[in-house]
């Protein structure tokens, strides 16, 4: 039995990280470019399709071509860098981003021949904490890249990234506290199950339980959601908070000196963090894999089709959230550095704290 469990876990790791997450990273780059083009009244990459044919497939081959290009490019290490740290840094941004995918529940469970396989790699009972702990490690990659590159732009990018990530980690963590108080649970699978039967946290209009407290709880939940999303943008270095690599001031920030696959690892790590962030937001606020309207939530033994529907429901929600990331990136200008710090420390920190208190009062009053 142990061997079977081990084999199933290994298969889940391979399938979920390398066949779900990595293609999603690649295609979110494609989506980013296409959506950006549409927003700016352009066309975007629409030709790279099947080689040696006329089929462009709306440019769906572009990520594969990009990947091949990165692999075959010269891997150049400048003479003025600290080679060891320089080589370590890209891995340190990529690895934590991929590791966090272990606790995200991609679906409920697949019922294959009576054997139930939960679609989560590690069913930890500290889900969000694990994600925050590991995801904050990726700042080491950026800082090491900044230091080891031994150039002023990389250095400034690294410094900015450190202070930004530390500031927003606090409001990110605090914005989760009210949610955790409502669920009374830190296991992401249990959180999604709760939402499956009680209605999604942001759309609590179906499921068990009286409606009134759920609607009143919507106020702190909305505040939490706003703070969580904005902090997520800052945490993943996306515009409007992409100060560590802002092109107009710092060339490319911490990865100025990087090329070929090492640059690609930074790039992939950034997108992986974005996808995991969307996954976490969907899991916490939008009901994870649960279907809208609470369809199939009363079934104890979930048939195979329901498991598959749950999996795709989660993917669709996640893609919607990624599109939000992209949409914001191509709409808003970059914040100034002091504005960013002010927003983090003066506004979000206090609002998140007050929100915890508000949630506590509501919970005491209704239970």
């Amino acid at each position: 039995m142990d061997w079977i469990n081990l084999a199933v876990t290994l298969i889940k790791i391979v399938v979920l990280t390398f066949m779900v997450l990595l293609p999603m990273i690649a295609y979110s780059v494609w989506a980013e470019r296409r959506v950006a083009a549409k927003i700016q009244n352009r066309v975007g990459p629409n030709r790279t399709g099947i080689p040696f044919t006329k089929w462009g497939l709306a440019g769906l081959g572009q990520p594969i071509a990009d990947g091949l290009k990165f692999i075959f490019k010269e891997d150049f290490t400048p003479a003025h860098v600290r080679t060891g740290f320089f080589w370590l840094a890209p891995a340190l941004t990529m690895v934590p981003a991929l590791m966090t995918c272990a606790v995200i529940p991609f679906g409920s469970e697949l019922n294959i021949a009576g054997y139930k396989i939960p679609l989560v790699i590690a069913n930890l009972n500290v889900g969000p904490l694990f994600i925050f702990a590991i995801a904050s490690l990726s700042v080491y990659g950026i800082v090491l890249a900044g230091w080891a590159s031994n150039s002023k732009y990389s250095f400034l990018g690294g410094v900015r990234s450190t202070s930004q990530m530390i500031s927003y980690e606090i409001s990110l963590g605090l914005s989760i506290v009210p949610i955790v108080m409502i669920f009374g649970e830190l296991n992401l699978t249990e959180i999604v199950k709760w939402q499956d039967s009680n209605g999604w946290l942001l759309l609590p209009f179906w499921g068990e339980g009286p409606l009134l407290p759920k609607v009143i709880l919507l106020v702190p939940v909305l505040i939490s959601f706003l703070i969580f999303t904005v902090s997520m943008f800052a945490e993943t270095n996306r515009l409007p908070f992409d100060l560590p690599e802002c092109e107009t001031e710092l060339v490319a920030g911490y990865h100025t000196e990087y090329s070929s696959m090492k640059f690609a690892l930074f790039f992939l790590g950034e997108y992986a963090a974005m996808i995991i962030g969307s996954g976490l937001a969907v899991t916490l606020f939008l009901g994870g894999w649960s279907l809208p309207g609470g369809i199939g939530s009363d079934l104890v033994d979930k048939p195979l089709w329901l498991g598959i529907a749950h999996f795709f429901c989660f993917l669709i929600k996640m893609i919607g959230f990624i599109l939000l990331f992209i949409w914001v990136r191509w709409s808003l200008p970059r914040f100034r550095y002091d504005q960013l710090m002010r927003l983090g420390w003066v506004f979000f920190f206090e609002i998140a704290l007050a929100n915890v208190l508000l949630t506590a009062l509501i919970l005491i009053y209704f239970k």
């Binding site: 927003i39 352009r42 066309v43 949409w327």
Partner: protein
């Protein structure tokens, strides 16, 4: 004298950005849907669609030499274009026109006239400086070649591209 810049007074709604963020996001969303439905996109799909019919009068493409109505090459090899050419793309080797020639009084003509199209920046200075109206910028822009030597337009090629141009100043023509 120092000037005190008056900062605009923002209302609370403007200070928390949210309304302006929503407004901006709606604008980009509008552009996105319009482009998705195929409206508003101005990109030209290059090899299939070309701009050729809409090239403006003043478009500066490849430079070329022209002959006049009498089938005389207009260039007198004064080398002004060679001297003014910023990337030094033009090379001229002048020669004397033999005295028995009909146009002997013009005195000089180019034996060799080469424009290296891999250097040319299409600035149009050669056309501007030419006292004989002998060199013109055409509308050709897709100049390709598989080697550096192929990218050099020699005299024959330049006259072939340029062709005959009528109605120019005819200062060497005795009849006028």
């Amino acid at each position: 004298m120092a000037i005190v810049v008056k900062r605009p007074k923002l209302t609370f709604g403007e200070k928390i950005y949210l309304s302006s963020i929503a407004k901006g996001m709606l604008i980009t969303m509008g552009h996105f849907w319009r482009a998705l439905l195929g409206k508003g996109t101005v990109t030209m799909q290059y090899p299939e669609e070309k701009w050729d019919e809409n090239l403006p009068e003043y478009y500066r493409g490849a430079p070329a030499l022209v002959t006049d109505e009498q089938d005389r090459e207009r260039c007198v090899a004064c080398q002004l274009c060679e001297f003014i050419c910023p990337p030094r793309a033009i090379t001229i080797l002048p020669e004397e026109i033999p005295s028995e020639d009909e146009w002997a009084k013009v005195e000089k003509r180019p034996r060799k006239f080469e424009i290296d199209m891999s250097r040319c920046i299409y600035c149009g200075f050669c056309q501007e400086v030419c006292p004989e109206q002998a060199i013109f910028l055409r509308k050709d822009y897709a100049i390709t070649g598989t080697s550096r030597a192929e990218m050099v337009h020699d005299k024959d090629k330049l006259y072939e591209i340029g062709g005959v141009r009528e109605g120019l100043v005819n200062k060497w023509n005795e009849l006028k």
